[in-house]
Amino acid sequence: MSQAQSNTVVLSVSSSPHVRSSESTARIMWSVFVCLIPSGIVSWNVFGISAAAIMLTAVGTAALTEALFCRLQSRPLTVGDGSACLTGLLLAYNLPAQAPLWLAALGAAVAIIFGKAVFGGLGGNIFNPALVGRVFLMASFPSLMTRWPAPPMFGLDAVTAPTPLAILKDSVQQTQIITAAEIIPYTLWDLFLGRRGGCIGEASVAALLAGAAVLLWRGSISWHIPASFIGTVAVVSWCFGGQGLFTGNWPVHVLAGGLTLGAFFMATDYVTAPLTKKGKCIFGVGCGLITAIIRLWGGYPEGVSYAILLMNAAVPLIDRYVVPRRFGGGGR
């Protein structure tokens, strides 16, 4: 008669905790994806249907490549976690709006294969996959990657127009003193809203910031990397970007090019960024310095992708030395 209790059900026994938050990897990835969409819609408006076709091609190819490699590597199918689609979309945002579709497909496949799958899939990669794809395309097809369409709304027939940063770079390298405002055909307001040449995702700072604001509010990203990254670019370009000290046209440097996209959506990629807040700030400052150095003194007008990739390589080092202070003090 002892223990004659009502227990006929089989109870589940597991280690605590017994509840979980509702956040999941897929939710995070898809929320970033969704937050990038406003910018895509602006690009579609600015650059026309070709931009939309590139985005679809890149996302589709990335998803297919991911599925293929999951099969080849006998891993569970991970297309649903959204990370491959996100990589595809980010790659598309890094292409000129009139790039051929095969270029987008090739870049997306390279991004997934050499950016992610060879490292064992999500979480194993060192470098931002989308940027691996972009840098591969830059090195292999430089002319296709730098043919910038002029936004049709300028009413120009020209197929190409220099990007604001390219104009700025040329102006600084010329010896005559001209203010940037005289030679850049765009106003800062144009840059902010998206009336300019450049990559698909670089079109509108406003649309990118709207998406980024949602991610910050949701807690998906923290302010540390974007703030330190953009802040560093602003300070360095102000100090050294002009003919003399402190004459640089920093607002153009901040608003032009891929800085907003890179700082909020690419440098903040969890897998390839440092873990601690302090580490994130160091990472952001490093990204900003390298970006500014490439823009001001390097061979390319734009340096955001290389800056992020170089700092990606430094992440293990940062994570090793920047660790939180253990509760109760004492060394680590």
Partner: protein
């Protein structure tokens, strides 16, 4: 917002609304109790009765020599039927005394009010608390009389009224229903420890408890500070509460008295008051019986040794089959393999999760999102320990100090990749010994 707190932690969904407003009710006398002889951290008690003996409510039925132990008492009157191993909610199986009720609940005549406790010396207070078998009622069940005799000078007593575990509301109900007795108990503990400074920490999601205590403390002109602390898990963890209230950090491997602090749970203070003023041993406690499928979730005053099944049935049973029964809260509680286990001194709650609420999602790769790093209240690197454990590199994990982990479980809770981080760290801890 802006209230005191610690670094790290997470806002965990509380589910306290199920029982927040349920006043404490006394459970009917159980027909039979199984009273384990190990209900505390430390030495297991020797039985003082044998099968066939008649016992009275409150009669001591087990005790042990040594410092870290606490006696156990009969929770009903009746006849001892078995003295031997029985199911135990923490240990699996442990020696216990089974008592069949005579239905009369006859009190041990030795239970008598102490007269004026103000005349008692510190040593007398401590020995009465030991004799009553008082242990920490927050869950760890550390003998209170040991805490009250710290081996180092202390200057602060902290009363833990935080109750940061989701679902649990038994301490909250005690705080709002019996503030004066708790304050009496706090006064006794203060005298026993011999400190001037007393802080009562209550989470700011319990405004009624905070207001009640602030009013009573000022009305009674007591030298205690009632401090609201930010609602954040694990605010009620000892080290984190000390940090929040007096900004001292207990070093790794040390105890609160190493930084001059004694921490006691609010429910424990009440038990101490009952022990000293009424001479009442710890044979009953308040338990939250809860869960979204429990028909009538309740806060119940329960005789120790009552089975979980009986209490769940008394709460109307469940609307769906139970998938998991947890002793304590969902973050640190222990999943039970049977609902026949008895309520012990450390049972703060009985949480029933339905089969639909069972969460055993497949583990995905770490995406280095750093949520665990941000949330860890000990500022450890949970993701790194988890990865080491999975690669079976316990040696390499040592640099991450797994022994510092307080096993609050917040890392596993927040992980978007559903990694069982704490489980991995526990494996490291076991392997490291």
């Amino acid at each position: 917002m802006g209230n005191k707190t610690f670094v790290g932690g997470w806002h965990v969904w509380s589910h306290k609304e199920l029982t927040r407003d349920a006043a404490i009710v006394a459970a009917p006398l159980p027909p039979r109790v199984v009273i384990p002889l190990a209900q505390h951290a430390g030495i297991v008690c020797r039985p003082l009765v044998k099968a066939g003996d008649t016992v009275l409510t409150g009669q001591k039925i087990g005790d042990a020599e040594g410092l870290i132990t606490a006696p156990v008492h009969a929770s009903i009157s009746g006849k001892v039927t078995v003295v031997g191993d029985a199911l135990h909610p923490v240990l699996g199986s442990a020696p216990a005394v089974t008592i069949e009720s005579d239905g009369a609940d006859r009190q041990d005549p030795a239970i008598t009010p102490a007269g004026d406790p103000r005349g008692l010396s510190r040593n007398e207070l401590v020995s009465r608390i030991r004799a009553a078998g008082i242990v920490g009622l927050g869950g760890a069940a550390f003998p209170t009389h040991v805490k009250l005799s710290p081996q180092k000078p202390v200057d602060v007593l902290i009363i833990n009224g935080v109750e940061c575990e989701p679902y649990l509301t038994c301490d909250y109900r005690l705080l709002v229903e019996r503030p004066d007795e708790i304050l009496d108990g706090i006064g006794l503990l203060q005298r026993a420890v011999g400190v001037e400074k007393v802080y009562i920490g209550i989470e700011d999601d319990k405004p009624l408890a905070i207001r009640t205590f602030q009013k009573r403390v000022s009305a009674l002109k007591l030298p205690f500070s009632v401090v609201p602390v930010e609602v954040k898990y694990p605010q009620g963890a000892e080290k984190q509460l000390i940090k929040a209230l007096v900004d001292r950090e207990v070093p790794p491997g040390k105890l609160p008295f190493d930084v001059g602090v004694v921490v006691s749970n609010a429910g424990t203070a009440l038990a101490a008051a009952e022990a000293v003023f009424q001479g009442k041993p710890l044979y009953e406690r308040t338990v939250t019986v809860t869960g979204t499928t429990v028909r009538e979730p309740k806060n119940i005053r329960v005789r120790l040794g009552t089975s979980f099944a009986e209490l769940i049935a008394w709460c109307g049973g469940t609307t769906a089959p139970a998938g998991k029964i947890v002793m304590g809260g969902p973050m640190m509680g222990l999943a039970q393999f049977s609902d026949a286990v008895p309520v012990v001194k450390g049972t703060s709650g009985i949480l029933v999760l339905s089969t639909a609420e069972l969460v055993l999602p497949p583990e995905q790769p770490c995406i280095r999102c750093a949520r665990c790093v941000d949330a860890c209240p000990m500022q450890l690197l949970p993701y790194a320990m988890s990865l080491c454990a999975q690669m079976k590199q316990a040696e390499r994990a040592r640099v991450y100090n797994p022994s510092d982990c307080i096993e609050c479980g917040v890392c596993t809770y927040v992980c978007p990749s559903k990694r069982r981080i704490l489980e991995h760290i526990r494996l490291l801890k076991v392997g490291a010994k």
